[in-house]
């Protein structure tokens, strides 16, 4: 029998249903891998008991003939989702020890579908970062190593770096992620897995620690496209508790999966061809174009003329919202409180927030506060919102001549831990291809497409029309079938 931890979500579900193995065996196998992978630091909290109890319920359900869509599947939960009775920190000192008495809508849906939780996954603090180096609980280490004879620790991407690492290292078959400006897609690309950010509003934000409300969107990360479809079906859905939630039925994405792209047109945005980019990235992109043609699609060049303004606009809007969203962490009601002897309210705020937030979080709060302040608001925030509208219009225009857009997910393969921490701008540049779809609220996914010359995975991004996750998944599947990406990180931990 294949090692259980090498199975995909679909294989676990089907194998469990067929009686090839018990859910308890699966849960125990993954929990053992989790326990054995401390060196990766993917988890902030491990919850084998949660996974086990869900597994027992799954086995009972199988006996009773009442199986649910994710019965027997243990998953990882990004520690940005509030989980009832389980510490939820957003990887911050501020929320260290915070145990919610409520369950986020997305995690509740997953438990209702029969999934179990292996633990809470590490991430960039408050989801702010592209390398998982801003976590208060330490860096997540990618399982991948460069094939250069060196032993440099690589970034797993961010902010969903715990999720990407855990899946790539077979610590869980799938995990939740959240994507504000690439936080699902970029770590997926860095670790050779798949991940999809659905249309803004598909997944409820209720119970997810907020970073930038108008951009935050939950989505699944998994080993392949089918697993992403299965997971997303069980995460998405209208939620009256989220005013921005989409009041639309959730399609049966898995059942409708098709890699036959005959009659479809794929757009290639010329503005994404960056001067001086890693030739491996361009080569992968060209290969991807060939694969989609092979799947029957017509390929056309398109223009997204405002692309170069996307990153600056994003780094105004996201910090602006964050500066306000994070105001609630004030030491008054929950989380960290630092009250120096004899201190007043203002001192308590200052001290608590100085101590509770990491450097990157503070940087973004400062940027956000600045761009919203009197005298600067119009020059920054209003201008950025205009850019955002223009970017959405770019996509609308482009989608009159194509159904999906193909581009690289990130401008490079995984970089080494510490390589970019000294230069925030270089770090922010990592999001250059991911951010436009976020600003436009469009569904976008990353699928592994190739290894670069250092043996590190590279991802291709597919961006779809609003609500057309199916088109994105289908094109992703067409690439997955042709790329034949089977590489995996060799175990060194």
């Amino acid at each position: 029998m294949t090692e259980l931890t090498n199975l995909t979500v679909a294989q676990i579900r089907d194998g469990h249903r067929a009686g090839d193995f018990s859910a308890v065996e699966v849960a125990e196998a993954f929990s053992a891998n989790v326990a054995d992978a401390k060196a990766l630091n993917a988890f902030i909290v491990e919850t084998p008991e949660h996974a086990l109890s869900a597994a027992k319920a799954a086995d009972a359900d199988r006996a009773a003939g009442t199986l649910k869509p994710l019965s027997g599947v243990p998953i990882g939960m990004k520690d940005l989702f509030c989980t009832h009775g389980v510490q939820t920190t957003a990887a911050s000192h501020m929320l260290e020890g915070f145990v919610p008495r409520y369950e986020s809508t997305v995690s509740q849906k997953l438990w209702d579908a029969g999934a179990g939780m292996l633990g809470k996954l590490n991430l960039d603090q408050f989801a702010m970062g592209s390398s998982n180096e801003t976590s208060y609980f330490g860096n997540v280490i990618s399982p991948w190593k460069r094939k250069d004879g060196g032993n440099a620790a690589l970034a797993p991407g961010g902010s969903s770096g715990g999720s990407s690492t855990a899946i790539a290292a077979r610590l869980c078959p799938a995990a939740t992620g959240t994507d504000t400006g690439g936080s699902i897609r970029q770590p997926a690309a860095f670790t050779g897995i798949s991940g999809i950010k659905p249309t803004y509003g598909r997944c409820s934000r209720w119970g997810i620690v907020a970073f930038a409300s108008s951009l935050d969107q939950a989505g699944p990360m998994a080993r392949d496209v089918r697993d992403c479809a299965i997971m997303l079906e069980n995460m998405a859905g209208f939620d009256p508790k989220d005013a921005t939630s989409l009041d639309m039925a959730v399609p049966n994405w898995e059942a409708a999966l098709s890699s036959d792209l005959k009659g479809k047109t794929v757009g290639i945005p010329k503005e994404y061809r960056l001067e001086g980019i890693d030739p491996d990235i361009d080569a992968m992109w060209d290969a991807g174009i060939a694969m989609l043609k092979d799947a029957g699609a017509t390929v056309v060049e398109i223009s997204l003329p405002h692309t170069k303004y996307a990153l600056p606009a994003y780094y105004i809007i996201a910090p602006a919202e964050a500066s306000s969203n994070l105001a609630r962490y004030d030491g008054v009601r929950y989380g960290l409180r630092d009250l120096p002897e004899g201190a007043g309210l203002q001192d308590m705020y200052a001290s608590t927030r100085a101590d509770g937030f990491g450097a990157e979080v503070k940087r973004r709060i400062m940027i956000g506060t600045y761009v919203l302040s009197a005298g600067f608001y119009d020059a920054y925030y209003t201008q950025a919102q205009k850019v955002r509208t223009l970017i959405a219009r770019d996509f609308e225009q482009a989608f009159t001549s194509c159904e999906v857009i193909l581009a690289p997910t990130a401008p490079s393969a995984a970089f080494g831990l510490g390589e970019k921490m000294a230069d925030p701008l270089a770090m922010y540049l990592n999001d250059v291809f991911a951010v436009p779809a976020s600003l436009a609220g469009l569904p976008a996914m990353s699928v592994p497409a190739a290894l670069n010359r250092e043996g590190l995975p590279l991802g291709l991004q597919i961006i779809g029309k609003a609500f057309d996750e199916q088109g994105v998944l289908d094109a992703g599947l067409a690439i997955e079938e042709r790329a034949g990406f089977t590489a995996r990180a060799e175990k060194w931990w």
Partner: protein
């Protein structure tokens, strides 16, 4: 035009007043959460996860709050903005869990409207005056800090956190404390008619920020100060009076008024500076990204409009058209309960003019004596209609009606039953009345002489004597006629 002026050493000063009234919307649930809103509940018992701003919690607009604000806008004939948006007003304070208040700065729900205050000669309002309303927007209330619970710490009560408020912003159209007082009273009446706010200023359901500036008549507006959270009509007027005087004295002594926020101290009857413009917060307003723009459709607007009751101005006009005096019409329409009670009385068949006189004098007099108000009146409109009907059809006189009303108040019995039981029916029996008249004229021959000599005022004396002899039951008109005949 108001001629209210502050007399300074350099001449007369005009006062310019604008009011921002915060009115708590009457609903069972808060603006963005399902938590309850009852007044006076134990601290922190009406707080949801959203109100406490727990991580990951999101606001969802309460439809009823929006509906009430729209109805209020319609009641002052304001422009209703079918597209509006919520903004965040960012500042740190312990009573503000989110670290921002959700309000509407850029695109309020309700645009320009107006409120008319009635003429009131005595108060220096010679003719009705239209006060412009700039806007009405919807926002969250904050919680409450309690400083008296612990020697070194402050406690926080979040029961009010997230409660829905309407902020009703007037134009700087008022020119005297009396106009401002009349505006607040009229606004309160409208809110209570509409049912969007209970107008209870003692419980804090309605409070005003008072903007005051002074200028020489005809000059440009002066620099204004804003006195926050004034919670009675009397205090609003006192703030304006005091603040206008303070500003005049300041300017005339060579100082300048600074734009600042002030607080009113009711015990000392004066305002004091809270913070100046220089220390003002930068609230960093921006559109709340947790909420979509609010779009109102035609069906919603139609329902809002159809559900509006007859409003004070329309009701007053209707009463005037029925012949009711302007004074009575004002009194009867000032409070929604009185108007409702009176309308029920009319529906039960009472004649408008007589009914208005009776309610404003007899009924209100009796309620005053008993320390009650209309909502717990011992006499129902139907019972009152019966009493007034007996007067109207001549069964009893107005004088007897007073006696009957007293008996109704004592016993709770109906007017008809009391009249029947106590034999209070008015008589038009000319024989009986003539007999009594004859006796009275004989007994008062001297007065008859004087009357005939030209002292016609004595007629009233003979009427009184006759009514007394008839124990008040004689029909006054018949008495008049017979007396005139007898006195030749």
């Amino acid at each position: 035009m108001s001629d209210y002026r502050i007399k300074g050493e350099t001449g007369e000063w005009e006062v310019v007043i604008g009011l921002e009234v915060h009115a708590q919307i009457t609903t069972n649930a808060k603006l963005f959460s399902g938590a309850a809103t009852a007044f006076g509940a134990e601290p922190n018992t009406q707080v949801s996860l959203v109100d406490a701003a727990m991580p990951g919690m999101l606001p969802v607009p309460n439809r009823e709050c929006i509906r009430q604000a729209v109805r209020t806008g319609m009641a002052i004939e304001a422009q209703i903005n079918t597209w509006s948006r919520f903004d965040r007003k960012n500042y740190f304070y312990a009573d503000l869990p989110q670290g921002y208040q959700i309000s509407q700065l850029y695109h309020p729900l309700v645009g320009e409207g107006s409120i008319t205050v009635e003429a009131d000669e005595k108060a220096g309002i010679p003719e009705p005056k239209v006060i412009g309303v700039e806007r009405i927007h919807v926002e969250q209330d904050a919680g409450k800090l309690m400083h008296d619970q612990h020697p070194t710490m402050s406690y926080v009560d979040l029961n009010r956190s997230g409660v829905a408020l309407m902020e009703i912003v007037s134009k700087p159209d008022m020119r005297s404390p009396a106009e401002a007082g009349a505006y607040v009273r009229k606004l309160r009446a409208i809110l209570r008619y509409v049912g969007s706010c209970d107008g209870n200023m003692e419980e804090g359901s309605m409070r005003a920020d008072v903007n005051v500036s002074v200028r020489k008549p005809g000059d440009e507006f002066g620099t204004r100060t804003e006195t926050k959270n004034v919670n009675s009509v009397r205090f609003v007027m006192a703030v304006i009076e005091g603040e206008a005087k303070r500003q005049v004295e300041l300017i005339e002594s060579g100082g300048t008024v600074v734009q600042e926020t002030r607080l009113y101290d009711p015990d000392r009857g004066e305002t004091r500076s809270m913070r100046s413009k220089e220390d003002a917060h930068d609230y960093r307003y921006f559109p709340d990204p947790d909420l979509l723009p609010l779009e109102l459709d035609d069906a919603f607007l139609a329902e809002c409009r159809e559900s509006l009751p007859e409003l004070p101005d329309a009701k007053r006009d209707r009463y005037l058209a029925l012949g009711i005096s302007p004074y009575n019409a004002d009194v009867l329409t000032a409070e929604v309960e009185a108007a409702r009670w009176f309308d029920t009385l009319l529906d039960a068949g009472a004649k408008p003019v007589a009914a208005a006189n009776w309610v404003t004098s007899e009924l209100f007099g009796a309620l005053n004596r008993m320390g009650r108000d209309l909502t717990d009146s011992p006499v129902s409109p139907q019972q009152a209609a019966e009493l007034l009907g007996l007067v109207a059809d001549g069964t009893i006189s107005g004088t007897i009606a007073k006696t009957v009303f007293e008996k109704m108040l004592e016993s709770g019995d109906g007017a008809g039953a009391i009249v029947e039981r106590d034999g209070l029916k008015q008589t038009s029996d000319t024989g009986a009345i003539e007999a009594e008249i004859a006796k009275i004229l004989t007994a008062n021959a001297d007065k008859v002489e004087q009357y005939k000599g030209g002292k016609e005022a004595l007629f009233g004396f003979f009427v009184g004597q006759t009514m007394k002899a008839m124990q008040g039951k004689a029909n006054p008109q018949v008495v008049n006629e017979l007396l005139k005949k007898a006195l030749g």
